[in-house]
């Protein structure tokens, strides 16, 4: 069941992205930026965490979860250490993703050439 909801919710978020591509004619950069902001707002409204509970990877894998994680980190740190926490807490949760992307991309660029 967990897998079913991961499939449905994850797929659903991607369909939202596809509609932005095809109907709103947004570029990938515009679409991803919009989805990240949507994820951030959803967490601010308290909607994203329940979605993660419900759909698991269906909510944590799409790029919307990046916005969710940034807000989550900011607000958790705000709660723990006060207003400065908004800035210091943001990248706590997202660090794994960004670090991994930088490191693996860099290593790849050392040994691999683009194939076109």
């Amino acid at each position: 069941m967990q897998y079913l909801w991961a499939f449905v919710v994850g797929g659903g978020i991607c369909v939202l992205g596809q509609l932005m591509f095809d109907v709103l004619k947004l570029t990938p950069a515009h679409t991803m930026s919009t989805l990240v902001v949507i994820g951030a707002i959803a967490d601010a409204l308290g909607w994203y965490e329940p979605l993660v509970e419900f759909a698991g990877a269906g909510a944590t894998v799409p790029i919307t979860s990046f916005g969710n994680a940034l807000v989550h980190g900011a607000l958790t740190e705000l709660h723990d250490t006060g207003p400065i926490g908004v800035i210091t807490g943001m990248f706590k949760v997202t660090s794994a993703g960004i670090s991994a992307a930088i490191i693996f991309s860099f290593l790849a660029a050392l040994v691999v050439r683009p194939k076109g």
Partner: protein, 337 residues
């Protein structure tokens, strides 16, 4: 000699005495593969960067053109060329190695006919005995500069076009055997408000139609006077628009074969090229390779090649500008017509 508003009439009938065409693997998999001097199996031509590969294409094409013309490189007075890359580096570096007086021109995908028209004008007016026109493009350098990194997963819409990997060069002389350039119409820029860089065909079609209609007015010719009129790279979307625009203006294009190089160079059904080919090399290799051969075989007697170019930059698009376009037409016919 000037005829009409923007057409040069070449009284001394400069001759295309030799051409050279070099292409990449996708073009080698297309229907015109047999008409090119060299087909590369590797997209990077075993070079260290896409830009170096594009340069090599042009070097080889110009070598073939000079060889096929039966002259020595030193006999060429001027080399006129251009490409899509910033600062025309493919042409600058090739011209450096050629060691010939160099005139760099930018016409985006219309460069082939822009440079050929200028070469013909130099020879016709006695300013040169031999002039060479050349251009090149590479799918990956174009994607890298104008769109996205080549391995980036962005879905291309059906209106997108596929930049041809290739180079074409032609040597024009005052006399000799080969097809003759009789006139050329230099186009003016048209911008009818299309701003989508993934829909170049629609942006360029008005420029092609304007240049062709002006050419016919200036020369007093009708479409029926040509065996074939080809546009450079309007591809399926732009070509269809052009057909409808001609019908709307009452131009009888049905009296001739109205084709497009972007539709000829690839097998649109089989190859994943969306709307068709584009790039400077598209019109160059199809004209200097395929169409030259058909002229020499006598299958075609007189053709009009109308290369079309979209004169945008990545920055102009990001700043919200529309796409200004241009088209240049060159009339080529068999020497015995």
């Amino acid at each position: 000699m000037l005829r009409g508003k923007q057409t040069w009439w070449f009284e001394n009938r400069p001759v295309i005495i030799g051409t050279g065409t070099v292409v990449g693997p996708d073009e080698g998999a297309g229907p015109l593969a047999a008409d090119f001097d060299l087909v590369h199996a590797e997209l990077d031509l075993n070079q260290k960067s896409w830009e170096k590969a594009e340069r090599l294409l042009l070097e080889q094409a110009s070598d073939f053109a000079i060889k096929n013309a039966g002259i020595r490189k030193e006999q060429v007075q001027f080399y006129i060329g251009g490409d899509l890359l910033n600062q025309l580096i493919s042409n600058s570096f090739t011209a450096r190695d050629l060691g010939l007086p160099y005139i760099g021109v930018f016409g985006a995908c219309s460069t082939s006919m822009l440079s050929l028209a200028l070469a013909a004008q130099l020879v016709d007016s006695g300013a040169a005995q031999y002039a060479m026109a050349g251009t090149c493009s590479h799918n990956c350098t174009a994607e890298k500069q104008f769109r996205y990194p080549t391995e980036y997963g962005a879905q291309k819409p059906p209106t997108a076009q596929y930049t041809v990997t290739g180079a074409g060069a032609a040597v024009v002389a005052a006399s000799g055997s080969g097809p003759v350039i009789t006139c050329a119409t230099i186009g003016k820029i048209l911008d009818l408000g299309i701003s989508d860089p993934f829909n170049m065909g629609a942006a360029m079609a008005p420029a092609a139609v304007d240049t062709i209609q002006t050419h016919l007015s200036d020369t007093g010719r009708m479409p029926a006077d040509y065996d074939m009129i080809v546009t450079g790279d309007l591809a399926s979307v732009g070509h269809r628009i052009a057909v409808d625009l001609f019908a709307r203006d009452g131009v009888p294009m049905q009296d001739t074969v109205f084709g497009d190089c972007g539709l000829m160079i690839y097998d649109i059904e089989r190859q994943k090229v969306q709307a068709g080919g584009s790039g400077c090399a598209c019109s160059a290799v199809v004209t200097y390779g395929h169409l030259m051969k058909r002229l020499n075989r006598g299958e075609l007697k007189r053709i009009l090649v109308v290369a079309t170019g979209a004169l945008l930059s990545p920055l102009s698009y990001q700043q919200g500008e529309t796409i200004p376009c241009i088209a240049h037409a060159v009339a080529i016919e068999r020497g015995d017509v």
